[in-house]
């Protein structure tokens, strides 16, 4: 078992510990199960699978467009988080 700690937000830490008590396991077992579930989730799988299929059939423009779209989304998210700093009364 690795000994390096993984830092998570305090709220997640508290919730995982509470949920582990409810499920009758320890927090590390619960996190392990959560990770395995996430590995199977569409969120984790889809983007990679799309890129891999596109490479396999030579659709390089599709991979590039997808990368570009991800960039645009990130730019929007960042701009929104700056807007959220405004404290208008």
């Amino acid at each position: 078992m690795a000994t390096n700690p993984v830092r998570v937000p305090e709220a997640v830490h508290d919730e995982v510990h509470t949920a582990a008590r409810l499920f009758g396991c320890n927090a590390s077992e619960l996190l392990e199960r959560a990770w395995h579930s996430f590995r199977q989730s569409p969120e984790f799988v889809t983007e990679f699978e799309q890129a891999r299929k596109a490479f396999s059939v030579g659709e390089l423009d599709q991979v590039a467009s997808h990368l570009y779209e991800q960039s645009a989304q990130r730019a929007r998210r960042r701009a929104d988080s700056v807007k959220a700093l405004r404290q208008e009364t």
Binding site: F48, S71, A75, A79, V82
Partner: protein, 246 residues
């Protein structure tokens, strides 16, 4: 950490947006005396010494002086960028004074970086295309080379920036007439500077892996982490991925 001017700051200094907006200020530090001052001071420390309270935005914004020029800078820690937000000419008491103008922009919501500024941080579609083409040629070639040299780590550089080690191990499955191919990839971190634009991490890793992994392997079959099977194991900060196929 990057030093950047917002589009509005470029306008303030009469610098052409189309020429400079997508580039770090270190690339054009000599284009204006205030850009030089910005690069010199904020590359030493992302924060200044004189904190300015903005009327609306809850951000730690610092004054930057050079002669009669005045500017405001903000260390955007999430993006690891120090922004020069705007610049003006200081005349105390004047309605056109730099700080009065810049604070008025904050009230109007035009001081802080906007979506255009953040798009400028990202790679263009053209750059993304060039990166993907290089990956599509170089990543599978590296795996093919490692197959020919099975049992030995083969190193290569992808897109002039990504230093990778690939090792193919052929494992004979006991009691079966089959062999298992185990492929280890180690991404050296951080990437080399220069050469070409890279998508941010971890997108470039996903793209390189997508170009290497055969279609029958799903992402669920990939193992992340583990010790790269070389003498001394994985290197500090190296990102190691492994998959197996018959």
């Amino acid at each position: 950490m990057q030093l950047r001017l917002t589009r509005r700051a470029l306008e303030d200094l009469d610098l052409p947006i189309e020429r400079y907006a997508g580039r770090p200020a270190t690339d054009y530090r000599d284009a204006h005396i205030f850009v030089t001052a910005f690069v010199e001071r904020r590359s030493q420390s992302p924060r200044g010494q004189e904190l300015t309270n903005l009327p609306v935005t809850a951000a730690s914004v610092y004054n930057l002086h050079h002669g009669r020029w005045r500017g405001l800078t903000w260390h955007d820690e999430d993006s690891d960028v120090v922004w020069l937000l705007g610049v003006g000419w200081h005349e105390s008491g004047s309605r056109g004074d730099a700080y009065t103008t810049l604070k008025a922009r904050d009230l109007a919501g035009t001081l802080m970086p906007d979506e255009h500024d953040y798009v400028d941080l990202e790679m263009s579609l053209e750059d993304a295309g060039a990166f993907v083409v290089q990956v599509s040629e170089q990543a599978p070639a590296l795996v093919a080379q490692a197959r020919l040299a099975a049992g030995r780590e083969v190193r290569g550089v992808i897109a002039g920036r990504l230093d990778l080690g690939v090792l193919v191990q052929v494992v004979v499955v006991a009691n079966e007439d089959e062999t298992l191919e185990e492929i280890w990839v180690g991404f050296e971190m951080p990437p080399f500077a220069g050469a070409c634009e890279l998508p941010p991490h971890p997108e470039w890793i996903q793209v390189v892996l997508a170009a290497m992994v055969p279609v029958e392997i799903t992402i669920a079959d990939l193992e992340f982490g583990g010790s790269f099977p070389r003498e001394g194991g994985s290197r500090p900060n190296e990102i190691v991925v492994c998959w197996r196929s018959f």
